[in-house]
Amino acid sequence: MKEKLTEEEVLHVAKLARIKLSKEEIEKYQIELKELLNDVEKINEVENFDDDILIACWEENTELRKDKPGQMLEPKEVLENAPRHSGNYISVPVVISGGEGA
């Protein structure tokens, strides 16, 4: 029998990831996520040489640009890709309702 996560554990990570799962998916991910998590556990077997971290492999020759306004996007063009909009605004469904919040 393969190792697996509990249903609650899968639902917890699905909530973190904001993904709704079907019953079949929950069962599948109980096994698959466990396999991947077992893999990443291996990191704890590796001895690091020092505590320096490398966030990204950039060299010293990088710099921030000057903080000044440049070319802006046209609202009309931007809104063409928006699923719902009204006037110059993107519209969204109810954010705060009586029920359980995010």
Partner: protein, 483 residues
């Protein structure tokens, strides 16, 4: 009459002498793509615009070597007015409103965008089978994968549809498909090419690079797409250089390291034999080759899993069904909009990686996993830098096997990571790496070799690669016959 099988210098001459026009090249490219339709290399073709552009160019002076040449673009690089899907349902109808930095650059050279190539969904995968639009097929054997995630770009180059393509490489996604399809693919140094307009997967690893059949063409395309971009903080300010400048120069006395891990039991014997034969050629030309151990190289996949999945979970949080992309039709509230949009919009592999990534970055886990991975990545980079004090190159096979069957099972979530075990270390250390064909296995599938150098030493890689190309003289036409 065919032109796209000639060298780009010949094509350039023909254009200059007005014996052919850009439209001839565009027509030929679309004819090729039509004939190879079953390879499924493209998600979107740019036919109307490409023809329009070719006509416009008829009145312009042929001012550079890339003028009028068709190019294919991986579908995770945004192109203004041309659909960009990342091979995902969630971006199925997304039309970008600006051009990526690299697209601006190739347009400045008057190259002609022919279409957007197939790939793994959001570049997550190693066989392009996670594409929402079905996988591309390998021109050398249509029952086999083209690799991934830049599988469509590799396919169209290998099939000879066009001479140039762009791909992206986060954990081998240019080099591995290049190896499987018998072409040349370069992942440049992290920071060499701006990522502005490359749809983010793992931002500290992603890099755009050229995919071509010939080494020199690859260097010429890299010349066109580099440069400091103030819209990408990680884009490096380095002096302009010509990446072809060392091609043809002798390699007598260069020092090459071969990691023992790269020639261990994890690699097929046929591949090892092919690499050994290539090493002999290099030694014959005066290279000094040592087999060495590289610390941390065996941990690269684990680092990649943590860093890439973590960063992906954060980057893909933007697909919320609000500003662009596919969206749930009748959500109850905003939470339902997020949950349902993402449930329907993302494929299995992407969901799996976002969930694991979210877990790895949540609360205390960020310290236990992500920070630890960043610390070991730093150690690994220092180890590579140490090796490059003694050696000019690190070489070895690009992949542990040749391309496998499209019908092979996809039920192992670890498989897509293990396929990239030899290419991932390069991304971890931000180094440049190139894959090129060096032979064929007993099933006539291409074998690829990887050449790695120190940061910003792409020109040296092209020097070594061009020598190997010249010595081997492989026939890289999958249909046999003349190239």
């Amino acid at each position: 009459m065919k032109y796209l099988n000639k060298s780009i210098k010949e094509i350039n001459e023909l254009l200059k002498q007005q014996r052919i026009k850009p439209i001839d090249l565009v027509n030929e490219a679309f004819e090729n793509i039509e004939n190879n339709n079953d390879l499924n290399a493209y998600i979107t073709l740019n036919k109307e615009e490409a023809i329009k552009k070719a006509k416009e160019l008829e009145n312009q002076e042929v001012d550079n070597i890339l003028f009028g040449l068709p190019i294919a673009i991986k579908d995770n690089i945004v192109t203004s007015g041309l659909r960009t899907t990342c091979a995902s349902h969630i971006l199925e109808n997304f039309i970008p409103i600006y051009d990526a930095f690299v697209i601006k650059k190739i347009k400045e050279k008057n190259m002609i965008i022919i279409g957007k190539t197939n790939m793994d969904e959001f570049a997550m995968g190693s066989s392009s089978r996670t594409s929402y639009f079905g996988p591309p097929r390998n021109p050398w054997n249509k029952e086999k994968i083209s690799g991934g995630s830049s599988g469509g770009s590799a396919t169209t180059i290998s099939a000879g549809d066009v001479l140039f393509a762009l791909g992206s490489d986060t954990g081998g996604s240019i080099r591995q498909p290049a190896s499987y399809t018998g072409i040349v693919g370069m992942k440049p140094t992290y920071g060499r090419v701006s990522r502005f307009g490359l749809v983010a997967f793992a931002s500290s690893l992603d890099q755009i690079g050229p995919m071509t059949k010939k080494v020199e063409d690859n260097a010429i395309l890299l010349n066109a797409i580099v440069g400091k971009d103030e819209k990408d903080l990680t884009s490096a300010r380095v002096e302009e250089e010509d990446f072809t400048r060392l091609i043809g120069k002798e390699i007598n006395g260069v020092k090459i390291a071969v990691p023992n891990y790269f020639m261990s039991d994890i690699v097929n014997n046929e591949i090892k034999e092919s690499i050994k034969a290539t090493i002999k050629i290099l030694e014959k030309n005066g290279a000094i080759v040592d087999y060495i151990d590289i610390k941390y190289i065996e941990n690269a996949v684990t680092l990649y899993q943590i860093i890439a999945m973590g960063e992906a979970s954060s980057n893909l949080a933007r697909y919320d069904g609000i500003r662009y992309g596919t969206s749930e039709e009748n959500p109850k509230d905003i939470e339902d909009l997020y949950l349902s949009t993402r449930a329907k919009g993302f494929g299995e592999e992407v969901k799996r990686r976002i969930m694991v990534g979210s877990y790895l970055l949540s609360g205390e886990n960020a310290k236990i996993y992500y920070n630890k991975a960043l610390s070991i990545r730093d150690d690994m980079r220092k180890e590579f830098k140490k090796i490059f004090k003694k050696y000019d190159f690190i070489i070895g096979p690009t992949t542990t096997t040749t391309a496998y069957n499209l019908s092979d099972p996809m039920d192992d979530p670890r498989k897509s990571f293990m396929d990239d075990v030899l290419v991932i270390p390069v991304n971890m250390a931000g180094l440049p790496g190139l894959s090129m064909p060096v032979g064929f296995d007993s099933e006539s599938m291409p074998i690829g070799m990887q050449i790695i150098a120190n940061s910003f030493e792409e020109a040296k890689i092209y020097q070594l690669a061009s020598l190997i190309e010249k010595e081997l003289k492989l026939n890289l036409n999958p249909n046999g016959g003349e190239e």
